[in-house]
């Protein structure tokens, strides 16, 4: 594997290997010496077209713990706006010798374009593109579920997961559906019909329009951020009605199975999709998600870059995966 653009790029064994590798890094991260020399001399660029301090810091920390040189490149706009075009930025990064580009972009497919337009030779890691995908988020979610519910090994076979909220606009949901399915979990998407994508029937998951129907039958429930501005576009009548029908509050929390956990990719909209009581409860694993995000991203960087020589410039040369 050369790039990580979509959760669909990962087969079952590769996804398990990423988690196993992360798990090893996790035990290292617990020690006082947190740095590994693995990627010394390599350059990782964080190319962020959207503000996302938490994701950028997570990648930055991951790269630094592997001793890579990290460049943060905060870009604004696109070729239609005043800013430099993605192509020109890519050519600049190529000239600087970037071994990997971690890209966050508001346009779906921008990482795909960056990887395949012939502008750069390094690896591309999708850190969230438009309403398309966010594969490392799905990996850290899967890792978190595996650790909490599956004894920290293997895959997620038989695990029942509900993803609740604005599926239509969620890259987290798209990547999670793909990856969780690959790992053997059963996924149910829960949303008002307006916030389910056209053609969702063809996705490898179930859908439900009623949160209360699925509460009793899940091992993990992932609440997605819902922007209250969506009501201006008639996706739902009011924020109040949304949270009444689809928000996770204390009474719904009580109906979850005892061992079930609550995930949220953040940032949370307290009082909208999740109540403060739930967010602060022992069932919520958001802090673990953040911790696991760093080691999962270390694993991804390691597996994409670790076995390649510095600046391997063969275009589209596939790297044999090894742990």
């Amino acid at each position: 594997m050369r790039h990580l653009l979509s959760a669909a790029d990962l087969g079952h064994d590769e996804a398990v290997m990423v988690m196993d590798t992360a798990s090893q890094f996790g035990s290292i991260a617990d020690r006082t010496v947190k740095k590994l020399p693995t990627l010394r001399g390599r350059t990782v660029v964080n190319l962020f077209y959207e503000d996302s301090t938490r994701t950028r810091i997570s990648f930055e920390l991951a790269a630094k713990r592997l001793s890579a040189d990290v460049i943060n490149f905060a870009a604004k706009g696109s070729s239609v706006a005043k800013g430099e075009s993605l192509k020109d930025t890519a050519l600049t990064l190529e000239a600087m010798g970037a071994d990997a580009v971690v890209i966050r972009h508001g346009s779906s497919g921008a990482p795909h374009r960056l990887a395949h337009a012939g502008w750069i030779s390094g690896s591309v890691i999708n850190a969230g593109d438009g309403t398309h995908e966010h594969p490392t988020q799905a990996l850290l979610d899967a890792y978190t579920m595996r650790k909490a519910l599956c004894g920290g090994k293997g895959d997620l076979a038989g695990l029942r997961v509900a993803i609740v909220g604005d599926i239509l606009h969620s890259r987290v949901a798209r990547s999670n559906v793909l990856l969780l399915r690959t790992l053997g979990a059963d996924v149910t998407l829960v949303a008002p019909p307006t916030l389910l994508p056209h053609g969702v029937q063809a996705w490898p998951c179930r859908t439900s329009m009623h949160l209360d129907d699925v509460l009793g039958e899940v091992d993990a429930i992932m609440m997605l951020r819902v922007q209250s501005e969506r009501m201006q576009d008639s996706y739902f009548p009011t924020a109040h009605e949304y949270s009444q029908r689809y928000g996770l509050d204390a009474s719904r929390l009580a109906r979850l199975a005892d061992r079930a956990i609550v995930l949220h990719p953040g940032p949370m909209n307290r009082g909208m999709e999740i109540s403060a009581v739930v967010a602060d409860s022992g069932r919520a694993v958001m802090v673990d998600q953040v911790t696991n995000g760093v080691i999962v991203r270390m694993a991804v960087l390691y597996l994409l870059l670790g076995a390649r020589g510095p600046r391997d410039v063969r275009p589209d040369a596939d790297m044999p995966v090894s742990a």
């Binding site: 075009s85 993605l86 779906s108 497919g109 374009r113 438009g130 398309h132 056209h198 053609g199 996705w203």
Partner: protein, 427 residues
Amino acid sequence: MAALVLRGVRPYGEAPVDLVVAEGQIVEHAQAGRGYGEVIDADGLIALPGLVDLHAHLREPGKEDAETVLTGSQAAALGGFTAVHAMANTDPVADTAGVVEQVWRLGQRAGLVDVRPVGAVTVGLAGRQLAELGAMAASAASVRVFSDDGQCVFDPLVMRRALEYVRAFDGVIAQHAQEPRLTEGAQMNESVLSGQLGLTGWPAVAEESIIARDVLLAGHTGSRLHVCHVSTAGSVEVIRWAKARGIDVTAEVTPHHLVLTDELVRGYDPLFKVNPPLRSAEDVQALRQGLADGTIDAVATDHAPHAKEAKDCEWSAAAFGMIGLETALSVVIETMVFPGLLDWHGVGDRMSASPARIGRVHGQGQGLDVGAGANVCIVDPQARWEADPALMASKSQNTPYAGRSLPGKVVHVLHAGRPTVLDGRLA
């Protein structure tokens, strides 16, 4: 001017003749080998009437880096066209007699095809106030086709008035059917794939609902309506229904909607970004059937050149549109002639006679009989060629067919009796 003889040519694929041309007219179908005059070898090649495009963006004035009337005319001639309608979404917009006359004169100066300016329906394509339709009709450009193409004439009252008003000079409103609210931020056909790719969908209903409204308006007011670039099976059904009711509606389909599907969007390559978007394989089949049975009257290119940077970027930042003048006939041969959906008479009708009639283009679309204007496209249907953007005459290279093998090569073209293309090159 001495007579020209197209030696051994097969009109609409029929028996070979010598087509003799003089004074800008076809003057004789002589026995093959017996025509008298300056000989152009066309042995065994097929003669079609010069092609007429109802829908091209020649970008001048305003976007001369993407195309000019001259380079667009060159591309048109090489594609077998002898008349091209130039869309109004230029800068400034072609919404006054001054601008349409400017475009018309540029076409005259290029002298390769009849450049027929399309006038805007509303001032600045803004959809609120009628542009000076009568003045454009009365100008030297004698505009007959009016369109806000790129924008939909969305306000139903403005659309009604426009349909009625242009009847005074036998004009037609060519509608870009796109419900604006249903397509806010739309990036591709709304489908399973759009949901997976995270690209905002452009639903078929946004096209079909406008066409349904417009055919009802045209029926109610007794006016003539033309529907641009029909792209969905549902649109074909609506138009078929309207024609059965006797409503005066015509429609066009682009070559790319006859052959390409939204699966091509999977790689996020903006070369495949176009408006209306590429649709499903079922839509493609319905469009071919509609064109075959005459529900769709004409093929129109929607040739939309864009400078390199407008496509050399991420999907959502890229411009909509693809060039098509130099590949249109080949695509029609591949999708309609080879499968037996249209014979060569059918091609002549859909690419010459019908569009000329819809656009009220004098001297075009008259066929190949003696007495017709000598606008002739000579094509070798067996020749295959590989589309190479670098070799195209268009100033822009945004063809979706790069590297693709296409059938049918335009060999010679006569425009008003004068060769514009000989042996596949500009004469």
